[in-house]
């Protein structure tokens, strides 16, 4: 029998840790409520005001991204889950016990990442597909609806879950760098919420070139069925977001490897 520590055993350990704290369960619950519940609320509001919507807006209406609008809110629940995966260990000092058991730090980061990505992918995809179906059934009969028979619709829904999953990785990586829950979540909120507000102050002619690279705007592009001209395509937006995540993760892992625990 192999009694050595390995990535597999670290993943198993991290999975136990991840599912045995209430913050994870609460975070996932809140993510579901916001993704599906807010999506349904906005779908219902759209339906009841549809007659007052201008014809121009009716033509460009996107039933897919509208049903997925809840992710704009649930991304914060995701940010909390991702950051707490590491910052809660610093808050209690548990990180030292953990590193005593798993001193290979990159292996520990990898184990946490696998658990985070796998679990977030599953729950966010379930939530996004549910929000999609709930939204379409609310639209049905009054507002135009979309169906999964179109590949670009399927892509938009899957990318919505990917957007949330990648943001979880971003907030985890920020946590590796900052090592403090509140500060990490503050920075995360700044990036996805405050940055777009700040960019409103930028002159229009520049803004069009900058805004499309903001994480929240990438998320917009990823969940839209049709790419507006001048914007990044959905798959380019996904690629961009992955690059952001890899850069922050790389910095976090490097610091985690080098610093005293």
């Amino acid at each position: 029998m192999n009694a050595d520590m390995s990535l597999g055993s670290v993943i198993r350990s991290e999975w136990i840790k991840f599912r045995t704290v209430r913050s994870t369960l609460t975070g996932v619950f809140v993510m579901f409520i916001l993704t599906i519940g807010l999506g349904a609320l906005i779908a219902w509001a759209t339906r009841s005001h549809w007659q007052t919507v201008s014809t121009a807006d009716q033509v460009t209406f996107d039933p897919v991204s509208t049903s997925l609008i809840g992710i704009v809110f649930s991304q914060f629940a995701i940010g909390v889950i991702g950051s707490l995966l590491i910052t809660s260990e610093y808050a209690s000092g548990l990180i030292r016990t953990t590193l005593g058991a798993v001193p290979k730090r990159l292996m520990l980061v990898s184990g946490k990442l696998v658990v985070l990505i796998a679990s977030m992918f599953v729950v966010t995809e379930v939530a996004c597909f549910a929000a999609f179906f709930v939204g379409q059934s609310i639209f049905s009969g009054v507002v135009p609806t979309a169906s999964l028979s179109s590949t670009s619709v399927v892509r938009a829904v899957i990318f919505a879950g990917l957007y949330l999953t990648i943001l979880a990785v971003v907030s985890f990586s920020l946590g590796l760098i900052v090592r403090h829950s509140a500060a990490t979540i503050g920075i995360f909120v700044t990036i996805v919420l405050i940055l777009p507000l700040i960019s409103l102050a930028i002159p229009e002619s520049w803004r069009v070139h900058i805004v499309k690279f903001e994480p929240s705007e990438l998320g917009n592009a990823m969940t839209s069925v049709v790419t507006p001209s001048g914007d990044l395509s959905a798959s380019r937006s996904l690629l961009m977001l992955v690059i952001y995540a890899v850069v922050v993760l790389g910095a976090g892992a490097l610091l985690f490897q080098r610093r005293d625990a």
Binding site: I16, K17, S92, G100
Partner: protein, 305 residues
């Protein structure tokens, strides 16, 4: 076996550990003694690979901690009993630790039973008393049945019953041939717990050896009452004695034996009323050894220029 080789650890301006060099052997309890802020916890963190040395190194069984293939099977450590997620149950905490090193869950129940916390195994550790947290920490250290055990200030905050339990426990570990390394800032604690002592002050090794040899090398003193203290003091001083007033009517003499003092007094025509050798207590030894290091370090931190 733990080996510290020319270990130096600096945090910014603070020199926490200064060229420390020692070994910890198996089969005995080794006490790691020093005043608060002398670098004990830092040394332990370096041994566990948590902090990176500025210079030198620390090895366990000849290896860097980080290169151990299954650390919990080799080394068990309790640095801080409160270093657990308060919202997780004791059993889940131990299971997560066990899983990382492929230790079967049955072993979790064993160590819970051994440390006497099986009745609270499914309670959140945030509600644990310090004593219960200590036991949980010890349970974690024992999970992999390791040969080397490290405990940082394990008796802090324990009640007398807990202290006795932990002493007996260290003894049984050492008797099984394990390496037991325990830190404390209390000499009195080490005197009853440890076989070997390593004393540090301001990050430097001050002395090491068995408890008995430490007491033997300590400066003893002799309690003296005599007919003419003034005269006696001056002759003792000319013979190299270090004399101070023990109280209003007695002297305390060191650097001379009681035989020498008796002879000197006789030669000087001073009548001795009392001549009593005082064996230095371990606490005295410790105070004497670390006097320099606490003088400057009363605030805990020391800055090097």
């Amino acid at each position: 076996m733990i080996k510290i080789e020319h270990l130096t650890k600096r945090y910014g301006d603070t020199l926490a550990v200064d060229d420390l060099d020692f070994e910890v052997r198996p089969g005995v309890i080794t006490g790691f003694l020093g005043p608060n802020g002398s670098g004990k916890s830092t040394t332990m963190r370096v041994i566990l690979g948590l902090d990176h040395p500025t210079k030198g190194r620390a090895t366990v069984k000849g290896q860097d901690y980080a290169s151990l293939r299954a650390p919990l099977h080799e080394v068990g450590a309790l640095l801080d009993a409160k270093a657990v997620h308060p919202g997780r149950t004791a059993r889940n905490h131990l299971r997560a630790l066990a899983a990382s090193n492929r230790i079967p869950f049955a072993r979790v129940d064993e160590v819970l039973g051994f440390t006497g916390i099986d009745s609270v195994a499914n309670k959140k550790v945030g509600n644990f008393s310090l004593g219960m947290s200590q036991r949980l920490g010890i349970a974690g250290a024992l999970l992999g049945d390791p040969e080397v055990l490290l405990f940082d200030e394990p008796v802090n905050g324990l009640d007398p019953e807990g202290i006795r339990w932990i002493r007996d426990f260290f003894r049984s570990l050492a008797n099984e041939g394990r390496t037991v390394f325990v830190s404390s800032h209390l000499m009195s604690e080490m005197a009853v717990t440890a076989d070997q002592i390593i004393v540090i002050g301001r990050g430097k090794l001050i002395t090491q050896g068995s408890i008995d040899s430490l007491t033997a090398t300590a400066k003893g003193s002799v309690f003296v009452r005599a007919s003419d203290h003034e005269k006696l003091i001056s002759v003792l001083k000319t013979h190299g004695g270090d004399v101070s007033e023990a109280n209003d009517e007695a002297l305390s003499v060191s650097d001379l034996t009681s035989d020498q003092i008796g002879q000197i007094a006789f030669d000087a025509d001073v009548v001795l009323f009392e001549l009593t050798p005082q064996r230095a207590s371990l606490e005295d030894v410790f105070m004497e050894l670390t006097a320099d290091s606490v003088e400057y370090g009363s605030s805990g931190a020391r800055n090097e220029r």
